[in-house]
Amino acid sequence: MAASSGEFLVKKSVFLLASSVGTVTAETLISRAIDEIGRTRAGLTASDIPGLALTLKPALSSFVGDEKAERLTSALRVLVGGVLAP
């Protein structure tokens, strides 16, 4: 069965954050952020990623600091969301 595009975006996001905060933490933070933006994992689209990144940033910064959280969420927007400018 093919993975949904939303699930694919979540896994790609987790993959990007994993080396800093760990896979389980990344998945937990992303799942919470998805809930907060009023979306579901399966229904997540690339256009939701900038909002997701914005919601995710405060939680990420408590693990890796403000600057790195900014860089990670920018990478998320560009590499996962396909947004060229932050």
Partner: protein, 325 residues
């Protein structure tokens, strides 16, 4: 092709390329071993010189850990728990090393020939007492840091399962803490024989400080196991490595305290001390190892806060893998 259902099943970014941070960690370990081998075995140095060299090794590690912990703290915004936590963690190694160094004060060593003025002994004893009190306070600081960190991680929604082995770990740590405090009395009397003889009033204060330390160590043991559990359940990553290293630092330091206490108890009970010198050296190695763990912890957190983002090479293959299922 097999599908990937959970994030925990994802292939982690390749670690085949060593980061510059890893090179520094290995360099520090190599330097410590080189110094220990040179001055511990090849050169039969006097007690004070050997002690001094080990103080220098600890001081180097503590200062490096402090610098990285402070830089990590600066990455967090004002008012954030992690900022305060890493500022406090940065001070721990320096306090430990300062306490270690106070034993170099004049008039304390039993190896020093001839009589020593009572005022000198008392002055040096007070310096050691202040160092011991600071060390005790640093354990309260660590307990506070661990408590606040556990609370922060709970707020982020990280799952937490306290297993039976965690309760056993807490009980074991409490037991070790109690042993260290019970025998600390013997440690002080073996390491400060002149203070015992010439300034006995100070020894009562040492005992009071050690009892306060037991409370701090008990708190550290409970919160330490909680944070260890959180770090284990993070699913890897640099932040988890940082916390595990800091907790190992605390555990090794505690074990070293208990170990030195037991050895000192044996000495005061008249057991021949020919082999006990080696045993004391093992205690010193444990101290250096604990400082190294603190250095590792600070370096992992610094790397987590400051490293550039590595786009995993596997990201494209992951994409094709997921599209092809």
């Amino acid at each position: 092709m097999e599908s990937i259902d959970k994030a925990t099943e994802l292939p982690l970014p390749s670690s085949s390329v060593r980061s510059k941070y890893a090179i520094w960690r290995w360099a520090a370990l190599t330097l410590i071993i080189a110094v220990e081998v040179t001055f511990g075995f090849l050169v039969s140095s006097a007690f004070r010189m050997g002690w001094g060299i080990r103080v220098s090794v600890c001081a180097t590690l503590a200062c490096a850990a402090m610098a990285m912990a402070f830089l990590s703290a600066r990455s967090f915004g004002r008012g954030q728990t992690a900022r305060r936590s890493w500022l406090m963690i940065g001070c721990l190694g320096v306090v430990d090393t300062a306490l270690f160094a106070t034993y170099l004060m004049p008039g304390l060593s039993a190896a020093q020939p001839g009589p020593v003025d009572a005022a000198t002994v008392e002055r040096s004893g007070i310096v050691v007492l202040v160092g011991t009190a600071l060390s005790m306070l640093s354990r309260f600081m660590l307990a506070y840091v661990l408590w606040k960190t556990a609370a922060t991680y709970r707020k982020t929604g990280l799952k937490f399962h306290f297993h039976r082995r965690d309760y056993i770990a807490v009980l074991l740590l409490l037991l070790v803490a109690t042993v260290s405090v019970v025998y600390s009395n013997a440690t002080m009397r073996v390491q400060l024989p002149r203070v015992v003889a010439q300034a006995p009033n100070l020894m009562a204060w040492f005992d009071v400080v050690e009892i306060a330390r037991l409370v701090a160590l008990a708190c550290c043991s409970v919160f330490g196991v909680v944070v260890w559990r959180y770090a284990t359940e993070m699913g890897g990553g640099l932040v988890a490595k940082a916390w595990r290293s800091v907790l190992l630092y605390a555990a090794i330091y505690l074990l070293r305290f208990a170990y030195t206490g037991v050895i000192s108890h044996l000495v005061t009970n008249g057991i021949p001390s020919a082999e006990l010198r080696t045993a004391y050296v093992l205690g010193l190695w444990a101290l250096i190892l604990s400082e190294y763990m603190l250095f590792l912890g600070a370096s992992y957190q610094y790397e987590a806060c400051s490293s550039t983002i590595e786009v995993p090479q596997e990201l494209d293959s992951l994409a094709s893998q997921l599209h092809s299922v």
